[in-house]
């Protein structure tokens, strides 16, 4: 289990507000999960029933495998990966921090605009990178 007490003060709250705002303000977004790099959900917001713990674990795996692809290809540090599907897309974005590395996972349906979602995810990543430090 994740020990929230050991998280930087204020970080879970900032993450939860950012997740909720992204879900409310970006058309087509159906799920936002902010997780530790080893797959524990710290904050989440959904439309409908979705499993935050499972999405967090998947985001962690995708991030880790993508990081290894980046290293093997000599492409530097992993930043993000976008998974396009016939019904929407998913974005996994790394949040580099010295104390606790995070991963943002956003899922969106066909109504979403990819560039808009990517921009918002980038804004959240920047916010979280500096929050509670």
């Amino acid at each position: 289990m994740i020990d929230i007490q050991n998280m930087p003060a204020g970080l879970p709250g900032v993450a939860q507000r950012a997740a909720a705002a992204c879900l409310a303000e970006v058309a087509g977004v159906t799920a936002v999960v902010i997780a530790t790099v080893d797959g524990f959900d710290m904050a989440s917001a959904f439309r409908g029933n979705q499993d935050a713990a499972r999405i967090a674990a998947m985001a962690s795996s995708i991030s880790a495998i993508s990081s290894m692809v980046a290293v093997e290809a000599g492409l530097g540090s992993f930043k993000s990966v976008t998974i396009g599907t016939d019904a929407g897309f998913a974005i996994v974005q790394a949040v580099p921090r010295q104390d606790v590395e995070l991963v943002i996972h956003v899922i969106a349906d066909g109504d979403a605009i990819l560039a808009q979602a990517m921009h918002r995810v980038g804004v959240i990543a920047k916010l979280l990178a500096g929050a509670g430090a």
């Binding site: 530790t36 080893d38 962690s60």
Partner: protein, 180 residues
Amino acid sequence: MKEYKLLITGTMGAGKTTAIRAISDIEPIVTDVVNHDSSVAKARTTVGLDYGMLSLDNGDRIRLFGTPGQARFDFLWEILARKALGLVILIDNSRPDPLADLAMFLDGFASQLARLPCVVGVGRLDTHPATTLDHYADALEARGMVFPILTVDVRQRADVVSLIDTLLGQIEAGMALDLP
């Protein structure tokens, strides 16, 4: 030349990454990250997969894949098990209930174990002897399963090679039975 894909699974901290590193001819691909699970005293943990390659004297090659150990990554277990010819389950005998750990993996890989050979490797038995190999054999027998059960120190290449040899023996025996 034959190529085998083998899957190594087991509990967090049982030594899956270490086992692959012990026998791989190449620098293993690992996807470990900082561990935030306060219930396990471990600095890093695999959240994606491990990969290594072992070449045998006869030219055959074994591709070794390691899974994450935590149940929350069970979606990867099924993916990584595809096309595997055999399964190694590593159990850490120092954990509170290693037989429950074994049960979790027997359940998690139930569909694969109906057709795949399997070997169970038990670590830290020397320092934590309360659960014996007989207990593991009984647990398997209760499910109608019979797999080799070996003690293993995953830091020792010879131990890991012994596990793999045992699994390959089962695989080849199965292939021989499949011949017309």
